[in-house]
């Protein structure tokens, strides 16, 4: 690929796009949920979380978006279960910060997994919103869980 496309569409990202994780509905009712959108392009994402014992136990992601948004949602579905809401929030915020910084490094302590690969998208400013959509939606779902239980619509324009 040329024009930096090999950086944007890395094999790990393409794999998540082709076989997105988190497609299966949660076994029971969701403990937190939110809907995210990117108004500038119309992409939409629904996120549901299951929680037990102070930790996130499952994530369901339904994305109507591009390969980057789909892959990002898939990586989220893989990375979030097993973390506490605070740990998930820290990861989402670190990713958001990394996407707006020149070096875009995620600390090893966050155990970022495939999310590290996705930070390469920051070199394509028009696509940063695509990568962030699932994580901004996650923050909205977590806010709702810790607040009044109602998720405000999450938007990449916020």
């Amino acid at each position: 690929m040329n024009g930096g496309m090999d950086e944007l569409y890395r094999e790990v990202i393409l794999d998540h796009h082709r076989r997105p994780r988190g497609q299966a509905p949660l076994a029971g009712p969701a403990d937190a949920r939110a809907e995210g959108k990117n108004p500038s392009c119309g992409d939409e994402l629904e996120l549901e979380l299951a929680c037990a014992g102070g930790a996130i136990t499952g994530a369901h992601v339904a994305c109507r978006g591009c390969a980057i948004a789909t892959a990002s949602g898939s990586i989220l579905a893989e990375l979030v279960p097993g973390r506490t809401p605070e740990q998930a929030r820290a990861l989402a915020e670190a990713f958001r910060e990394a996407m707006h910084s020149p070096d875009g490094v995620l600390a090893d302590a966050l155990d970022p997994g495939d999310l590290e690969v996705l930070t390469g998208v920051r070199k394509f400013p028009a696509r940063v919103k695509c990568a962030l959509l699932p994580w901004i939606t996650l923050l909205s779902a977590l806010d709702a869980q810790s607040g009044d239980g109602r998720a405000a619509p999450a938007t990449t324009e916020a």
């Binding site: 690929m1 040329n2 944007l8 569409y9 392009c41 992409d43 978006g65 789909t70």
Partner: protein
């Protein structure tokens, strides 16, 4: 670039004949006049197929805008000095030129910041003439610019907003018109050419039906002016808006043309500055039309430059530009259909469309399509194109759109097809 199958133009449509020396097999018109087309993108020659978003500008337009700032810069209608007079002459000259282009008297041409601004002026300006329960009729294929101002007006004034739906073929379902046009319909607002479906709407027919009900007709001609012949009276509209930048002119400039009676019904939306007649500390009266609607300092540089764009169009002739866009559209439809698996929106006959084609590949999201095409130097638009309700109707959140201008070639479409196949290959398809 490899040439594929020969062009098949619709019946009755003759390809350009190359008489002007730059149009081989309907190849291109005046491309050498557009400096930006010389640049490369990602190491490739630029293939610019996003003309429905904005067209490139001829060197004469760029030079005229620069010349304004180098030689004439002053505010208009107030300078009692040479520069002020020159600036005013250039600004009013633009109004006269646009009037001549649309075959409407200059005093019925309002200069605005753009088509969106002009539509807001019409919607806001009609507010005082409307009563709760009055109806506004729009279409399902409207650009947000000709939808949101009416939504907002309806919300504020307690109006009922109705819309003409589209058929499966992407044309207005005119069979619904009699039931939708009622005794309370006050305004019918519709696009001349859809920026997604490409459909050319039968504005004159709809306007005639609307007028029988006493409704005003507002036409968004942003996708048609500069691309197909548009004469104000032929459309039968009360108001027509368009933007300069989609007709090879500068950004930040648009126009509202109207009948004298319709313009008289508008209240100014923006007030202050030069649109006044007499102001006391307690009251103000308004200048005559069109100055009444031109508050504040206008974009004089853009106005000074736009006539050069209209000169270019007139030199090429709109008939020839239209034939060229039909030819490109016919070829694009044929080649996109041959790719296989793409959904293509709007009428299948090129002569029923403006020069654009939106499509959807279920395997490659439009963002990814646009990104991968960009890596090859090919510029298209991806997204909802500011027509979310239409996309919802079509069942997709986004589409990819290739749109054409005078300088595009059949080879550009070959490059697009190559790029689509490349995008599919990246995704392993």
């Amino acid at each position: 670039m490899r040439r594929a199958k020969p062009l098949t133009a619709p019946a009755g449509v003759e390809p350009c004949d190359g008489q002007k020396g730059d149009c081989s097999r309907c190849g291109r018109i005046f491309a050498e006049r557009f400096p930006l087309l010389e640049r490369t993108v990602n190491g490739r020659p630029l293939v610019y197929l996003d003309n429905a978003a904005t067209t490139q500008k001829p060197g004469a337009v760029i030079a005229a805008e620069a010349r304004y700032y180098r030689e004439h810069n002053a505010n208009v209608h107030r300078g009692m000095h040479t520069l002020g007079v020159e600036a005013t002459d250039l600004y009013e000259g633009c109004r006269t030129r646009v009037g001549r282009f649309l075959a409407v008297p200059a005093e019925r041409v309002v200069i605005t910041r753009g088509a969106t601004s002009a539509l807001n002026l019409v919607a806001g300006g009609l507010a005082a003439t409307l009563k709760p329960g009055d109806e506004i009729l729009v279409t399902e294929m409207e650009h947000h610019a000709n939808l949101v101002p009416w939504i907002q007006l309806a919300r504020r004034e307690g109006l009922v907003l109705r819309h003409i739906p589209i058929t499966a073929g992407g044309e207005l379902d005119l069979a619904r018109l009699p039931e939708l046009l009622g005794s309370r319909t006050r305004v019918v607002a519709l696009t001349h050419v859809s920026n997604v479906l490409g459909t050319i709407n039968p504005v004159a027919e709809i306007a005639a039906a609307a007028h029988r009900r006493g409704a005003l007709v507002v036409v968004d001609a942003a996708q048609s002016v500069g691309h197909l012949p548009v004469a104000f009276d032929d459309l039968g509209a009360d108001f027509l808006v368009f933007s300069a930048h989609k007709a090879y002119g500068p950004m930040g400039l648009g126009f509202l043309a109207g009948t004298a009676e319709a313009l008289e019904r508008l209240e100014p939306v923006e007030v202050g500055g030069e649109m006044i007649d007499m102001v006391t500390m307690e009251s103000a009266t308004w200048a005559a039309i069109p100055a009444r609607f031109e508050a504040g300092t206008p974009n004089v540089a853009a106005a000074a430059a736009f006539p050069a764009a209209l000169d270019t169009i007139d030199e090429a002739t709109l008939e020839r530009l239209r034939q060229h866009e039909i030819s490109l559209t016919a070829y694009a439809l044929e080649r996109l259909l041959a790719v296989g698996g793409l959904t293509i929106y709007g009428p299948r006959q090129a002569d029923r469309r403006g020069g654009l084609v939106a499509f959807h590949d279920p395997m490659v999201h439009p963002h990814d399509m646009a990104q991968l095409l960009d890596s090859l130097g090919i510029a298209i638009r991806a997204g909802h194109h500011c027509a979310q309700p239409l996309h919802r109707r079509l069942g997709v959140v986004a589409t990819s759109r290739a749109s054409f201008g005078m300088y595009n070639t059949h080879e550009d479409i070959d490059a697009l097809i190559h790029g689509i196949n490349y995008a599919r290959s990246v995704f392993g398809l």
